[in-house]
Amino acid sequence: EPEVTQTPSHQVTQMGQEVILRCVPISNHLYFYWYRQILGQKVEFLVSFYNNEISEKSEIFDDQFSVERPDGSNFTLKIRSTKLEDSAMYFCASKLMGYTFGSGTRLTVV
């Protein structure tokens, strides 16, 4: 069964550093998403991406965040200057009909 692949599975970074989280969505899917889950909390929507542009973003997705689909297969989330409160599990998802999630990247900001 096709999968959404996320790398790395765990990343530790210093506060103020830039991080890039990578995702390979399912190849024939059209919609792409990033979600985040702070430890013990609900899964929160960050951003959706369709037709090579952002279609919707949440209040969380401020100027520190950006997304790209640089080569038609990868889908990346960049956090420009990480803060302690950015520590969370970040999930990528892609959608044709149903939503398929990757296994997540655990980001720890120290």
Binding site: Y31, K42, V43, F101
Partner: protein, 112 residues
């Protein structure tokens, strides 16, 4: 704004007992409804989904859910719970082009 409510934060059932996890969604056009399960430290696994048609949906691991438009509900059920079902369960609402919105989750504990 569209929303999803899971009224039960934590449920404990005995192994072999039946299970029902509640989910209500805010009114709107015919929703796309989902249930996902998350084991500790793991990703989100799709249990089942409803788009249209038969309101009783069968999923993996013996789970089923029933869409009730009159009650704006999509409750998840399992007739006999196994210890391996202990996890967190998230109900979600999506749409043809919309993002998926999750409820706050229900943490299921299974007693031997």
């Amino acid at each position: 704004a569209q929303s999803v409510t899971q009224p039960d934060i934590h449920i404990t059932v005995s192994e072999g007992a039946s299970l029902e996890l509640r989910c209500n969604y805010s009114y709107g056009a015919t929703p796309y409804l989902f249930w996902y399960v998350q084991s500790p430290g793991q990703g989100l696994q799709l249990l089942l989904k409803y788009f249209s048609g038969d309101t009783l949906v069968q999923g993996i691991k013996g789970f089923e859910a029933e869409f009730k438009r009159s009650q704006s509900s999509f409750n998840l059920r399992k007739p006999s719970v196994h210890w391996s079902d202990a996890a967190e369960y998230f109900c979600g609402r999506g749409g043809a082009t919309n993002k998926l919105i999750f409820g706050t989750g229900t943490l299921l504990a299974v007693q031997p």
